[in-house]
């Protein structure tokens, strides 16, 4: 059993075995990250491949400070953003002022009500712009200012897209909840 340190050193020396070990150890986790930014699994796997290429080529730059898994995640997120930019011209993202947001009034979500699969699907179905901003802000924890820089958009756009993303997600979750017939007690 190789340690992370051994794997990193092996990869830096371009050793196939170390690369394979790195892949088998972290690909599941990284695909989870990629899938949040993609609209389906095939796209997520494309991002995953590009992420690993970047990882293998740049692993000698990994300083060893900070968590390795955090470094990997950052590369995957950056790759997803690059991917988003690269395909932006093909994706007609539409912002509609008349967007009708439905306030579902969902204030709390029971942890076990939704499976990861369902949550992934909710994200996958979002318009690409919403998905990017929501992930970066809500899951990765970036600030709107940073997100604006990363995506090359205005800070206010990031904020408004985030709130629209939230509304869209709430609506989807509410639908899902109704579908499951699992209503919380009404006086809760």
């Amino acid at each position: 059993m190789m340690s992370d340190q051994q794997i990193i050193e092996g990869c830096a020396r371009n050793e196939r075995k170390a690369q394979q070990e790195l892949y088998s150890r972290y690909s599941h986790f990284l695909l989870g990250v990629c899938l949040r930014y993609a609209s389906d699994k095939a796209e997520a796997e494309d991002i995953l491949q590009d992420s690993f290429l970047k990882i293998f080529f740049n692993i000698k730059d990994y300083s060893g400070t900070g968590s390795f898994i955090g470094w990997l995640r950052k590369i995957a997120v950056n790759t997803a953003i690059t991917h988003y930019h690269k395909h932006l011209k093909f994706r007609y993202y539409v912002e509609i002022e008349e967007f009708v947001s439905v306030e579902s009034g969902v204030s709390s979500f029971e942890e076990d009500l939704f499976t990861s699969d369902e949550l992934f699907r909710v994200l996958n179905e979002l318009p690409t712009g919403y998905r990017m901003v929501f992930n970066l802000y809500a899951v990765e924890g970036y600030k709107h200012k940073e997100i604006a820089q990363m995506l090359g958009i205005d800070t206010n756009t990031s904020k408004s897209q985030y709130s629209r993303a939230k509304a869209a997600i709430r609506e989807k979750l509410e639908k899902l909840r109704k579908l499951k017939g699992n209503y919380p007690a009404s006086n809760q």
Binding site: N14, L53, V94, F109, E111, S116, F120, A138, V139
Partner: protein, 441 residues
Amino acid sequence: MKDKKEDKALRELFQDKLGNAEVIPAPSISKALMRKLILRRFLHFNVASFNVWYAGGIVIAGALIAVVLSSDPGKNEQTKQAPVSTEINTPLINKAEKEETVNPAVRDDAENETVYEAKGDEKSGVSITSDEDDARIHRDKKTNGVTSVNIPDISEEGLIIEDKTGRNNLKIAVKQSDNLIAASVTEGCAPLKVIFKSMIPPRDSCRWTFGDGGYSTDRNTEWLYDIEGEYKVTFHVFTAGGKKFISSVNILVHPKPVARLEITPEDAILPDDEIIFMNYSTNGVKYKWDFGDGTVSELFEPRHIYSKYGDYDVQLIAFSEYGCSDSLVVLNVFSGSGYFVTFPNAFIPNPNGPSGGYYSPRSDESAFVFHPVYSGVADYQLRIFSRLGILIFESNDINIGWDGYYKGALSESGVYVWEVHGKYVSGEPFTKMGDVTLLKN
């Protein structure tokens, strides 16, 4: 505050569930990745790591150039006319135990495709064992010469890298139609105005068809649906590059209800009469009445008693099962209700003596008494003045008119002025003035 709490709940849900979620990639991903990795290293030329790989690459590149040169258009015809399969074996190149064979195979259908195979054997890190190991060069002669050359790819497993980029493009093309267009609303009540937006580059042209025979070629447009129904709106994009995309959205237009009402009795007397509001609306399931005096009702046909006479505007709103609504307002319902008081402009008193002014509308055919024709008068005061302004007659009873006598004597013939005021039974007040000519036979 509530918003912040909800926001936090949502973030936590996704952080907890997906922040570290693991998804198993397809097994083929690992292989494809390793192939790409090798390819990248191969293309990533570095003098320090010059090795057999590059030597092999140079050999293949040389072979490629030879192929390109030998297939210049002038010689194409000759090749076509020689449908015999030929096989040329280039001399073996032995360099660092590497063996490479180039087999240009010209087949019957060689006009379309020529396949060159390069077989190789390697020992540096990767070993190629199977016969399938090849770097393939596809030449498409349809467009006069080499149009696409897939960079030779030597993989660990000895498989050819599939043309991932081509597949990806296709996938994206299908995907984009989802985000091509947006409609401000997709469901609503007739007449429904829908704003359609598309985000396509200005150089691309497009066409909207609205599903009811209408169309537009504007990039952003709007359409008014005034007839109920379900419409399929189709959006065609014709890109500058010659590609076509279609996207569509369904618009559901619900019928609009029609609010209709009638108020009875027609000549209602306020505040005495109970008013019945009749409902003749169509497509409604729910109603809201506003009686105009601050009271409302949601009954289908409500009844209402007003506390006093007034100018009341009655409103009815009908709601359909889809939440569509229509309203109707009747302004000043209880005025102009057909009540009136009018006076003649002349009369001929009975010269045989005063009658006391009593008259009956039917019997007073000779017009001995000056009196009004009226309807619905509840309160009444009539005063008649001489031309000098002297009050010569007064009556608070509509059944008593002026017989033409003043203090027992028949008045002079001439013009007299009258003034009347009072209230109709509806409660509406009235005031009128005029003159009347007293005639004598």
